[in-house]
């Protein structure tokens, strides 16, 4: 039953796919191959391996897990640092006065422009890529956490002051939960940004990963390959987002309940 309902939510997908197929076939543009061609190319690239390896090819096994691994590490790092720093900045006016310009500065810098710096600071490979991902996606979390922590309902803060809650109790039981809706908005944004940054981090000096494959396909004018990589990114994004929403629903159940109207 739940499965059927989940399927029902996907009704738009086949519609879009068919429309896409029809439109691209009509256009006959080499740059816009029809989905069937893309899928065939994807199959060839990633899913034509031996059965005992779930049909995954060497390319799939080499590139997808490494990329996704780096993505997760980068995202988790960004979440932790972003929430900690954001809450600190949100709660301490003094600190934010000192650091805020730096943050606004860092936020506006194109991640590719930071690559040389990271290349200088970190050894090439996973470390540098994770730093690139983290530094690129931390901003939505940082900003949302900062705003969330800054704008806690005054009455809630006063209540915790009055009952003498310690700083950490106040943080964990009052400030964080109340900033949670905003923090989750930031986390959700940064999750798909992480996919984008993953690709960017693999553009320079890398030897594997989904972004590397995208670049490789672009370099060899393998347009179905380019599209196939984009599709993989999109599907990954959808899956990650769905998992994220499940987690969010659990953590923010109070929020939905408290703000429900008929």
């Amino acid at each position: 039953m739940r499965f059927l309902r989940a399927l029902g939510r996907l009704w738009l997908v086949p519609v879009v796919l068919v429309a896409w197929e029809v439109a691209t076939r009509a256009a006959e543009d080499v740059f816009f191959p029809p989905p069937t061609t893309i899928v065939a190319r994807m199959h060839e690239m990633w899913f034509s391996g031996p059965a005992e390896r779930l049909w995954l090819t060497d390319a799939a096994l080499e590139n997808i897990p490494t990329s996704v691994g780096r993505l997760f590490v980068g995202w988790l790092l960004a979440s932790v640092i972003g929430i900690v720093l954001g809450v600190m900045l949100g709660r301490s006016a003094l600190l934010s006065r000192f650091i805020d310009p730096l943050i606004q500065f860092g936020r506006a810098i194109p991640p590719p422009a930071l690559l040389p710096l990271f290349l200088a600071l970190f050894s090439i490979g996973a470390q540098m890529q994770i730093v690139t991902i983290t530094s690129g996606i931390i901003w939505p979390i940082l900003l949302n956490a900062g705003d969330g922590a800054r704008h806690v309902d005054r009455q809630h803060l006063e209540t915790s002051t009055v009952f003498g809650l310690s700083r950490s109790q106040r943080l964990f039981w009052v400030i964080l939960p109340s900033a949670m809706p905003k923090i989750f908005a930031g986390l959700r944004l940064s999750l798909s940004l992480a996919l984008i940054l993953m690709v960017i981090s693999e553009l320079v000096g890398s030897v594997n990963g989904i972004g590397f494959q995208l670049l490789d396909a672009q370099r060899s004018y393998d347009l179905p390959g380019v599209w196939g990589t984009i599709v993989v990114l999109g599907v990954l994004g959808y899956l990650l987002n769905s998992a994220f929403l499940v987690a969010e629903r659990r953590v923010l159940s109070w929020h939905r309940g408290a703000n429900r109207t008929t």
């Binding site: 009455q155 009952f163 109790q169 109340s178």
Partner: protein, 260 residues
């Protein structure tokens, strides 16, 4: 225990400034229950927030146990007038009540037990698992009372704590407050609009004038204890005091000149 002298507070500045407190003087002894009455908007909540250290008054001093109040004093509990916004919607009712008890160094089962007991006392047995937004207004108010009572503070500040419950529950809560107070030697400041209530539960009734608020009456309630909803209210002294307080409150309203 608590000494307030010449407390003044002005909200805002310039032409739009509002003089809420116009020099309040008040002394409360250890273990006393003082009721504060006064017209709506006169500055009662402002006074209470100054005592709780939530607001820096623009003038005068508040000292608690000899020390000036600059930040929120230890061992204090407040029942806010806006009770619904003072409960945390992300916690169950039980957790809301148990949260402050962490400060008391209680372990988890003891906190739970204390919360359950306090909720039972205010007539909310079995509501621990619900969330505040699943409760009616009066129930939320009782949760915030339970939270303050379970905390067993040395000083308790209550801002119209029984305003949203039915008459019978209100009487029960009044008696509960009196009981808890005498058991645990609390000092209580209670703001109320119900003149009967102020005389019934208070050792003293302090009447504030309209803004800028000053103390215009400070009546000692000499009723025999333990008090009882029926006999106490029939006591001629009760009837006399209540009329007296009523007259003071009304007087303040009709003759603003008396306030300054």
């Amino acid at each position: 225990m608590l000494e307030i002298s010449n407390l003044t507070h002005v909200y805002g500045s310039g032409p739009g400034a509002h003089h809420a407190l116009g020099g309040v003087d008040l002394k409360v002894a250890q273990g006393e229950l003082v009721c504060i009455v006064g017209p709506s908007g006169c500055g009662k909540s402002t006074l209470l927030r100054s005592i709780a250290g939530l607001l820096h008054p623009t003038g005068g001093t508040v000292t608690l146990g000899g020390k000036p109040v600059e930040r929120t004093p230890d061992d204090l509990a407040v029942v806010f007038q806006d009770y619904s916004r003072s409960l945390f919607p992300w916690m169950s009712v039980g957790d809301n009540v148990a949260l402050p008890l962490r400060r008391k160094g209680m372990d988890r089962p003891r906190r739970r037990e204390a919360a359950t007991e306090a909720l039972e006392q205010v007539g909310l047995a079995g509501a621990e698992g619900k969330y505040p937004w699943q409760l009616s207004g009066g129930m939320q108010q009782r949760v915030s009372i339970a939270r303050a009572l379970a905390y067993r503070p040395a000083l308790m500040l209550m801002d119209e704590p029984f305003g949203s419950v039915d008459a019978q529950t209100r009487e029960d809560l009044e008696d509960l407050t009196l009981r808890v107070r005498s058991h645990h030697d609390m000092t209580i400041l209670l703001i109320t609009h119900d003149i009967d209530e102020s005389v019934y539960v208070g050792d003293r009734v302090v009447v504030l004038s309209k803004a800028p608020a000053t103390v215009v009456g400070d009546l000692r309630v000499d009723l025999p204890g333990p008090r009882d909803q029926i006999t106490t209210r029939e006591n001629p002294e009760f009837v006399h005091l209540r009329a007296e307080v009523g007259r003071l409150v009304r007087g303040m309203r009709d003759d603003p000149g008396a306030a300054s």
